[in-house]
Amino acid sequence: MTHKDTYRVFREWINRHIRVMAPFITLILLVIFFSITAGRFASIQNVTNILGNSALLLILCCGITMVLLIGEIDLSFAALMTLVSILTAHFLTIFGLSTWTIIPMVLILGALFGLLNGASVAYVNIPSFAVTLATMTIFVGVVVFITEGKPYYDVPGILYYIGNAYIGKIPVLFIVALSIAVIFYFLLRYTIFGRYVYMVGGNKEAARLAGVSVKHIQIWVFVIMGVTVAIAGMLGLGRLGSTQCGTFDTLLIAGIAAVVIGGTSLFGGEGGIVNTIIGVFIWYVLRNGLDLMDMNIYIKEMLTGIILLLALIFNLYIQKRSAEA
């Protein structure tokens, strides 16, 4: 094989995997940039930090990825996550339930809330944007009603452990998050359900005319989303050690942004978990790197936005170029 052949094979491989390669290159560029400009960025302690901080978002983003893949959107997950953390704490503090009663209960509640979203989308035919905007408000309302503005400080021990312990230098929470990502990867890539998710997202009408039950897929995706958010909510409570109104609000934008930066299409059918893992890292590398860069904190938010925009343009540009090649 000549050099030319090797190069051609390499180019073809890149082109086939461009949807993953484009954000991956962005991530590498960011890592190199911050390693040079921010001294402490490349330390082991900092990597541990990034892993620990990104874990919750990664769990959430697995669910979001699936929702985006079928061409829907969920705006209620951050509010639901707060609600779940409040319920967990409330069950523990006020009702005095045991941890092993609370966890399955909360998971089932998460599934039911997901079912509410999914059934509204599938059977009442309301666009998911509107449905989840409404349920978001409901979830926020329930949180306010339960807490009356007061914070909770009690956390089930096991959740606190998962949220804060380390195995060697690796946060347990990150291992849990990565395991969930692996499960999602398997589900999406290697099961019939996963295939249907991609086909429904790629062309809903075609899936329907092939006799695929689009409604069932939509409902299941939202139910899985609900369970994922319930897991994230409980672990979030564990990590922070407390919760109150609006604890996880910032994750709404972060979650959708990370998935989209990773290269999953907002219109469905394209992308996946590998994209999302990369997207989550891009998001946290950016935040963490800017934190360490010793700059005016008032300019940080704006810079984050600008770099995100540039990253998105870069992704799109590379994908377009490879499509033409």
Partner: protein, 512 residues
């Protein structure tokens, strides 16, 4: 005035148009007289729409001359043609349903007073304009979507007249209309005529062409066959002129693939597959009764909008609120969704490939989609995809149907129309359903693929496993494939033809 009635308002002399090497029109003449209705008829592809495009200024690159009031003109755009008095009312109306009647009438030319739209004047004028055509009762402040098709059509006509049209081109105006709306249309046409407007009337519905038009020009294969007076002409003569030699065309009952089109007696001996009784979907079709046997192909033929294609959609669960009953193998079934339809053994190849396939995904994923779960065995393993098995099963269909592609991994979107159609068909063949509904199986595919698809379906028919329903507006396709043909007209089965009684001219005569 007298001069006007002799000299045509619009004259076309020696019009020719090529698309690459294909002649769309050659040396066509047409005289349109003031205050008259001139029909243009012909098969699909005979050149009607090309001619209309030239008259309306949408096509500016042609040979020959167009004369308006004796003056040579060459429209530079549809806007330019409109300015000079040529307006067009398309079959797919260009009205905006969510705006009110008045807003539609004045779209782009709202009456303004001091920079502000004067709504009262708009309302009054719209009301008056519609009243002139006998629609005085219409609430012009309601959105157009609340009104019937004929009102939308009238709004379109009013719009065109407002822009100063002397010549109005009407493209297939009756296909969206009910019987009583057609009577209203005839009154509108009479009024336009009385006002001295001239109308070019294009339609497949020959009954109405004969009823409304004064003169009729017949096109065939881009050439003018004849211009005749509608008076004293009957439908059969018209059909003969439209089809020419093709009218006596009969499909080969035997060919290299040795498949016979069966006679009625032969069909009777086959096993029953599907039966419908008084099948009705409101606004689509009513009282449809037929039977399909395994190994038989039943053709449903009609003009666009005659309801024949909705029958296929209904059998595949796309009209869950149908009336009447459907029986599969003599058992009554309730088909409320494509999922149910598939479960009880019905497959469907939709007319539109954009609706059928997931373009960016590989061919094999599109082929395995309908029966995905059947490819994998074992209790738990059933839920897990095995790419190798999928690809080898897909490759079988690719080879069998001669789909031109390097491998099964190529995205479906990279294929040509004909090959996409083969994918859309091939996906039903690994695990065959009891009944396969093919909607427009040869629409928009090239001649080579057409022949391949037709002979392939004939071969499948020979296996006598599946029953087929072939739905098409293309008479050749219907005739090549069907043992029996049901002809639809305005939502009802008008006739059933089989064996020797089938011919192109019979199909056209009954359907139009």
């Amino acid at each position: 005035m007298k001069n006007d009635s002799i000299n045509p308002i619009l004259q076309m002399k020696g019009i020719s148009k090529h698309y690459g090497g294909v002649k769309a029109l050659s040396n066509v003449d047409l005289d349109l007289h003031r205050g008259s209705i001139h029909g243009i008829v012909g098969e699909n592809g005979a050149g009607k729409s090309t001619l209309v495009k030239i008259i309306s200024g949408a096509l500016i690159d042609y040979e020959g001359g167009v004369f308006l009031n004796g003056e040579r003109v060459r429209f530079s755009s549809p806007r330019n043609a409109q300015k000079k008095g040529v307006g067009i009312v398309y079959q797919e109306l260009s009205v905006i349903n969510c705006l009110t009647v008045a807003e539609n009438v004045f779209l782009g030319v709202q009456p303004v007073k001091g920079g502000i739209i004067s709504w009262n004047k708009m309302k009054e004028d719209a009301q008056n304009s519609l009243a002139e055509f006998g629609f005085s009762h219409v609430d012009v402040q309601k959105p157009l979507s609340h009104h019937r098709f004929s009102i939308k059509q009238t709004v379109e006509i009013v719009k065109v007249l407002r822009l100063g049209a002397q010549i109005i081109i009407m493209d297939e105006p009756t296909s969206g209309l009910s019987r009583d709306e057609i009577i209203t249309l005839s009154q509108i046409l009479e009024k336009l005529k009385a006002d001295g407007k001239s109308i070019i009337y294009i339609s497949h519905h020959l009954d109405e062409v004969l009823q409304f038009c004064d003169t009729i020009t017949i096109l065939r294969d881009g050439k003018k066959v004849d211009t005749i007076s509608a008076e004293g002409c009957n439908k059969r003569t018209l059909v003969e002129k439209i089809l020419g030699e093709k009218g006596v065309y009969l499909p080969s009952r035997e060919d290299n693939f040795s498949v016979l089109l069966r006679t009625k007696e032969e069909v009777g001996k086959l096993n029953a597959c599907l039966r419908t009784e008084r099948l009705t979907v409101s606004d689509e079709f009513e009282d449809v009764n037929f039977e399909v046997h395994s190994g038989e192909a039943l053709g449903l033929y009609g003009l666009v909008g005659s309801g024949y294609s909705s029958v296929g959609e209904c059998l595949y669960g796309l009209f869950p609120e149908y009336n009447g009953s459907i029986h599969i193998e003599n058992k009554q079934v309730n088909i409320d969704s494509p999922v149910t339809a598939k479960k009880i053994g019905i497959g469907y190849v939709p007319e539109d490939r954009i609706m059928a396939l997931v373009f960016p995904e590989p061919i094999y994923k599109n082929i395995t989609l309908p029966y995905l779960s059947k490819f994998f065995k074992g209790f738990f393993l059933k839920f897990i995809l095995r790419k190798k098995e999928e690809i080898s099963a897909s490759q079988k269909q690719i080879d069998r149907m001669k789909i031109k592609t390097p491998n099964a991994l190529m995205p479906v979107g990279s294929l040509s129309g004909g090959n996409m159609q083969k994918v859309s068909l091939g996906r039903w063949l690994t695990f065959q359903p009891k009944l396969l509904i093919l909607s427009e199986p040869t629409r928009g595919v090239d001649v080579g693929a057409k022949v391949e698809i037709i002979s392939f379906i004939r071969e499948l028919k020979k296996e006598a496993v599946m029953g087929f329903i072939i739905i098409s507006t293309e008479p050749e396709t219907i005739m090549e494939l069907s043992d029996r043909i049901m002809i639809f007209s305005r939502g009802k089965i008008k006739a059933e033809l089989s064996g020797e009684s089938v011919s192109m001219s019979r199909l056209m005569e009954i359907a139009s």
